[in-house]
Symmetry: C2
Subunit: 218 residues, 2 copies
């Protein structure tokens, strides 16, 4: 049977992800995962180089689901504010079951060496996928953003979403409703803020900001 190996891998991943959701990150020990999956600890490591790697697996799944739900949610929505709102809420929906785990997830993801780190060069693929979600939100909007912003807009929105996610991690209000409020307020603010780009005074500063951004990334 060719799929036997893949089967074991999938089994371990499924068990791990379920345990992450139900028990949180720390309580889900590698031994517990192995036991629950009915394999040896070493076998789990044969498929996943580290516990962080299992987090990476979770990240991929969450991201795929976000991408899917966001694409659905923006159908027929024209204005940027609405599209952004829908996209961000979709993300929050997907992450919701993992809220208690979110903090550990962030701590893991933020380490430069982590395979999950979105800023890391190594995980360009994952970052691109994540960016693509916001490119969809931005590109489909009308009226379109100011020309000089168009290229960086998805990245800007993505960055805003990173901030929202950080807020969400620390949001202890029931159902994280404060984060929902934040999204509802932030999305129109961003959309309106972008329209300011046409005011001359703002425009000059914006040019400099974009210059700095490009300059400093090289």
């Amino acid at each position: 049977m060719a799929g036997k190996s893949e089967q074991t891998r999938q089994l371990v991943a499924d068990v791990a992800l379920r345990m992450f959701r139900d028990l949180g990150f720390e309580k889900t020990t590698m031994r517990a995962i192995a036991a629950e999956a009915g394999v040896s600890v070493g076998n789990a490591y044969y498929y996943f180089a580290s516990k962080d790697d299992l987090v990476h697996e979770l990240y991929l799944q969450v991201q795929a689901e976000h991408s899917h739900k966001a694409a659905e949610a923006v159908v027929g929505v024209k204005d940027l504010s609405g599209r952004l709102k829908a996209t961000m809420h979709a993300g929050l929906d997907v992450m919701a079951p993992y809220h208690r785990f979110g903090a550990e997830f962030i701590a893991t993801a933020i380490r430069p060496a982590s395979p999950v780190n979105p800023f890391n060069d190594a995980s360009t693929a994952a970052r691109e996928a994540s960016l693509a979600i916001f490119r969809t939100a931005a590109d489909g909007a009308s009226p379109a953003a100011a020309r000089k912003l168009r290229a960086e807009l998805p990245e800007l929105l993505w960055l805003a979403y990173m901030g929202v996610t950080l807020f969400w991690v620390y949001d202890t209000s029931s159902g994280q409703r404060r984060t929902r409020k934040l999204v509802d307020g932030l999305a129109p603010l961003i959309a309106r803020g972008l329209s300011l780009a046409r005011i001359p005074g703002v425009s000059r500063i914006l040019d400099d900001a974009l210059d700095l951004s490009r300059n400093v990334r090289g």
Copy 2:
């Protein structure tokens, strides 16, 4: 001798901080710290509840030094851009020896349970001290910022500094010169950006942004 206990505590802290600087976070094991300090592992734990607690100690020291150096650096500097630049560079100077450790530091600090977490309610004191540095930078500046911004300005600057710090962690350019460039470009941008608050179109959006911020924090 009354200071014996304090002496041991200080010894452990000193050794730990030096090892953090020279070896990085992971290589500095609790056993290594204890051995180097000539005490038992258990004894180190008598004074510091966890390894994270030693990171907290480092955080306090870095912050105190930043506060001191920043206060010196802004003397005689009137414009906000200059004051902000001086304050941020002072922070980078202080952190520089720990750059290789910075990533682990951030990972530790970002966990809500961490004593170092700047967003955490528990560490209000540390956060206040950190904010105070930027309050000094903002309050001493002339011309003063728009009235409605004055209250939130220190927090905004502090937040910007958090962003700069995050950038710094990932900055692998030699001597982190890209982060220096970022600060040099960002400080005047922020200062000029604030002056836009008086433009009517901008002002209205700003009001909404401040509303949202207050609303969502409650």
